[in-house]
């Protein structure tokens, strides 16, 4: 069968690249495309496991930035195949970050390129998780650990400050693996700021609960192992913030205050203890 040559890339931030893995993987799985996946230099490890006989990675010379790729990654399309920058759904200025919208946008973009290879409604029906393949070295966890994604990217509506002392006080039997440096190191606060995105993703699989702030980089925890795990994003107004990458049975809670977070942790640690 002749495969349609196609260049795909994601010009957004690292979190957007992680989400775009779902599109890249769906396109590769469909068997209809011969793919080149363009990315920034430091995002190449995020896509490395998608390389295959009909899918290669083209990494640029520049690292990704807090505002997204420093230049349009379609410049990496060096053999003139049709090129498409992934849009993560919706028709507004900002993406909706929903899978069904993303598939619809992808299919529409293919149609605009004159390519009759839509992923279709069947692909949109099940929201995929974003597991990374391959082995990575992980630090050993000595006891029950909570994944605390205190790294953040700019997300205008959200604002949150972790009270680390209070976290350690209310859960003295737990460790917290933190993805950004903490102001006052404590024994229960494990420094995960030096871990790679793949390592963070894998480490989150081993954690009991998942807590983050902004969706990027919390998106790294969207794995099959974490699909039903108690998880929360802090610093959001649940009345006005849509749940990103939503799926049936998504346990994600949007919490506004430190008190809300403490309640969430205590309730879910108690549930886990009873299991």
């Amino acid at each position: 069968m002749t495969r349609q040559p196609l260049f795909l890339c994601q010009n957004g931030r690292r979190g957007d690249v992680v989400l775009s893995r779902a599109v890249f993987a769906a396109a590769a799985r469909s068997g209809r495309f011969d793919l080149v996946l363009g990315c920034c230099r430091d995002d190449a490890p995020l896509l490395a496991d998608l390389a295959g006989p009909h899918s290669r990675i083209a990494a640029g010379a520049f690292a990704n930035t807090p505002h997204g790729a420093p230049l349009d990654l379609r410049h990496l399309n060096d053999d003139g195949r049709p090129a498409l920058a992934i849009w993560l759904g919706g028709n507004e200025a900002w993406p909706s970050y929903q899978w069904a919208d993303t598939v619809r946008s992808f299919d529409r973009a293919l149609a605009r390129l004159g390519i009759d290879c839509a992923l279709g409604d069947a692909a949109a029906a099940t929201v995929p998780m974003l597991d990374f393949a391959g082995e990575v070295a992980l630090p050993a966890l000595r006891r029950q650990t909570i994944y605390l994604d205190n790294a953040r990217t700019l997300h205008e509506p959200s604002h949150f400050v972790f009270d680390f002392e209070r976290l350690c006080d209310v859960l003295p039997d737990h460790d917290f693996v933190c993805t950004a440096p903490v102001p006052e190191p404590q024994p229960a606060l494990l420094d995960g700021s030096g871990l790679s995105p793949l390592q963070r993703s894998r480490l989150s699989d081993r954690c009991q609960l998942l807590v983050g702030t902004t969706f990027d980089p919390f998106v790294l925890t969207l794995t099959e192992a974490n699909r039903s795990k108690p998880k929360a994003m802090c610093g959001h107004d649940a009345r006005t913030t849509p749940v990103p990458w939503d799926y049936p049975g998504n346990p994600l809670e949007l919490l506004a205050t430190m008190d809300d977070l403490i309640d969430f942790l205590l309730a879910n640690v108690a549930v886990e203890a009873r299991r």
């Binding site: 640029g60 010379a61 520049f62 690292a63 930035t65 807090p66 505002h67 420093p70 230049l71 349009d72 379609r74 410049h75 990496l76 399309n77 060096d78 849009w87 919706g90 028709n91 507004e92 946008s105 529409r108 973009a109 953040r152 990217t153 700019l154 997300h155 205008e156 509506p157 959200s158 604002h159 400050v161 009270d163 950004a180 440096p181 903490v182 102001p183 610093g235």
Partner: protein
């Protein structure tokens, strides 16, 4: 001043004079240009001023930190009798004073807010003030020092506010920042005294609390001094017109020279040029190389529009011989400051003409996107697409994009500088692609001049009142509208004739009777009726009177029968991108639809659905305008 008037006044301040005062708010800046008129988020400032207004505070306000443009000082001035501002940068103070932005009684204190002399001056001018806004030193220690010095000046019942941009520009190298200061203050000082600070906003935030007897007086914070101290990166000397600094283990050369380099300035792309290398000598050498190379690269780029790519390539080849590895040496600088235009141009040109043409073109495109009016760069890049990349389609796409961007700016300028009185002029980004307008209820053509100014080629108007229609015709002639479609009909959901109820003010003519609860002035009371022909817009499409392909914008202002007009326009709506509808917010006409009904109708058109994009009440609080934009097919 009510909330609406306050918002209008604030927006006017934020957009009045871009060159002198900056433009907009801190949360709406481009990544490559951070020059807001008001250095806070719009919603945050509105909420904050709303809080101040609601509490009836209007005496003396104190602001620590004037900011680069003094926008918050001018914003506070909307409510305060006088504002006392402290700013350490004498140049900023001088510029602010010279711009004539000081109000009567305002006081500007020049100096470091931590200095005892400055603190005494402020205390003398503003002891017992109504409001304190700490918006200066954006570090934990600096904010603490300001808080300890100035919070006691606020009277009981006044507001203490802390501006916080720490999460808008997160600095990984500062684990202690303003957000942590506020958190610690709340936990250890305010809550034990029964006071809770309120946070307004998100990443751009203002935290504020009401001063009570318990919190007034000398502040004794329980944490040791030195917590969260930040060592600034001072100027280590100058080289090739740049000041050199060490920050986070790397050396930076910055132009124009600055006394100290802050990481937030890098995040906001404030330096005109930023170079980085591992050591001081490396960055000095890089600065010298860049200073020598930049004119050559500009010359090479200038050869492209002249059709001399070969000569341009030779210049770059000679440069690379003289400065081997220059591109590789500049890459870390571009990574540190990815929006720096000087670097984009330099590395872009080196790449374009040095063997990486696609990468170079993409970098130059990013530079162009920061300044679409740079005609020289546009021409150079277009020629590069054809002569270097051999891609004519890319050149055409580039020129189309440039045309659209120029059009956007033209429309924005016209809307901002010359138009008022319609909600559409507040959203020029929606109008840039409009090529044709159909207005139902055009009256005497009050909007015709605006559409002419905006260069909207195709204009169609419906107006059933004979006198108003005659005035509309005259107006179109007077303004030189080319081939307008002028139709003396009303529009509705069915064709036929109906009685139009007219008032003294002819623009208030309606098919609907006045609602029994309506409170109308005398000149809007319905006096007479006239029989007028009614057509559906779809029937006008069917008989070829209206060309739906040429109508991007549909305006409907028919005094309560707007929903009927839309119901008779389903076929037309499939071609329209933008709908602006007058809505009644209070009972005016019996049977007039609620705004939600109009929104629901437009939302439920299936594949042709529209979403509410903007809504504004008018000067008459009983009326407003809603703008809907097509949902599907945009992406």
């Amino acid at each position: 001043m009510n909330a609406f008037a306050l918002a209008q006044a604030l927006d006017a301040l934020a957009t009045a004079s871009p060159e002198r005062h900056g433009y907009g708010y801190s949360d709406t800046q481009h990544p490559w240009r951070h020059d807001p008129a008001i250095e806070q988020g719009r919603q945050v400032v509105l909420e904050f001023l709303g809080e101040v207004r609601q509490r009836g505070l209007g005496g003396t306000f104190v602001q620590i930190g004037l900011g680069r443009r003094g926008g918050m000082h001018r914003a506070l001035r909307l409510l305060a009798r006088r504002v006392v501002s402290v700013e350490r940068d004498a140049a900023v103070v001088a510029a602010f004073a010279a711009a004539g932005d000081l109000g009567d009684g305002d006081v500007l204190v020049t100096g470091d807010s931590h200095a005892a002399l400055v603190q005494r001056q402020v205390a003398a001018a503003a002891n017992g003030c109504d409001l304190l806004l700490l918006d200066g030193d954006d570090s934990y220690a600096g904010m603490r020092a300001d808080f300890e010095a100035y919070a006691p000046l606020v009277r009981v019942g006044g507001l203490v506010a802390i501006g916080d941009r720490s999460q808008a520009f997160p600095d990984d190298h500062r684990p202690y920042d303003v957000d942590r200061f506020v958190h610690d203050l709340q936990r250890d000082w305010l809550l034990p005294r029964g006071v809770r600070a309120r946070r307004l906003g998100g990443a751009h935030a203002i935290h504020c609390y009401l001063q009570t007897a318990a919190t007034a007086g000398a502040v004794a914070l329980p944490w040791p001094q030195g917590r969260g101290t930040v060592v600034p990166a001072p100027d280590l000397g100058q080289h090739a017109g740049c000041s050199v600094h060490e920050l986070g283990g790397r050396c930076f050369a910055v132009a124009p020279p600055v006394p100290e380099l802050r990481r937030r300035a890098i995040l906001r792309n404030e330096p005109q040029l930023l170079l980085t290398a591992a050591t001081r000598s490396d960055v000095a050498a890089l600065a010298e190389a860049f200073a020598a190379a930049q004119p050559v690269l500009q010359q090479a780029l200038a050869l492209l529009p002249l059709g001399q790519p070969g000569a341009a390539r030779q210049l770059v080849a000679d440069l690379e011989r003289d400065f081997p590895g220059l591109r590789a040496a500049l890459l870390p600088s571009l990574e540190a400051a990815p929006h720096n235009r000087e670097l984009l141009l330099a590395v872009g040109t080196l790449s374009l003409l040095g063997g990486r043409p696609r990468e170079g073109a993409a970098l130059l495109r990013r530079a162009l996107e920061q300044a679409w009016l740079d005609k020289n760069l546009l021409l150079a890049l277009a020629r590069a697409c054809t002569d270097v990349l051999g891609d004519e389609a890319a050149a055409r796409e580039l020129l189309d994009a440039a045309r659209r961007q120029v059009r956007k700016r033209q429309v924005a300028a016209i809307c901002h500088e010359r138009l008022s009185g319609n909600v559409l002029w507040h959203y020029p980004q929606l109008l840039a692609d409009v090529r044709g307008v159909l207005q139902v209820g055009a009256h005497t053509g009050e909007e015709v001049e605006a559409f002419q100014l905006l260069g909207i080629e195709h204009q169609a108007y419906l107006e059933p009142q004979p006198q108003a229609f005659a005035a509309l015709q005259a107006r179109c002639r007077e303004l030189g509208v080319r081939s307008p479609v002028l139709l003396p009909f009303a529009a509705g959901s069915t064709c036929g004739e109906r009685d139009l109820r007219c008032a003294f003010r002819s623009e208030r003519a309606s098919f609907l009777a006045t609602h029994e609860l309506a409170r109308l002035p005398a000149d809007e009371r319905q006096l007479t009726t006239h029989r007028v022909p009614v057509r559906t817009l779809d029937s006008l499409v069917d008989d070829g009177t209206i060309d739906p392909q040429r109508c991007d914008l549909l305006l409907v202002d028919t005094e309560g029968s707007e929903l009927e007009v839309l119901q008779g326009a389903r076929q037309l709506l499939a071609h329209v991108d933008l709908v602006c509808v007058a809505v009644c917010l209070e009972p005016i006409y019996a049977g007039a639809p609620l705004p939600q009904e109009i929104q629901g109708f437009l939302r439920e058109l299936g594949d042709d659905a529209f979403a509410l994009r903007a809504f504004e009440p008018g000067p008459d609080p009983a009326r407003g305008d809603a703008v809907f934009r097509r949902i599907e097919g945009r992406r």
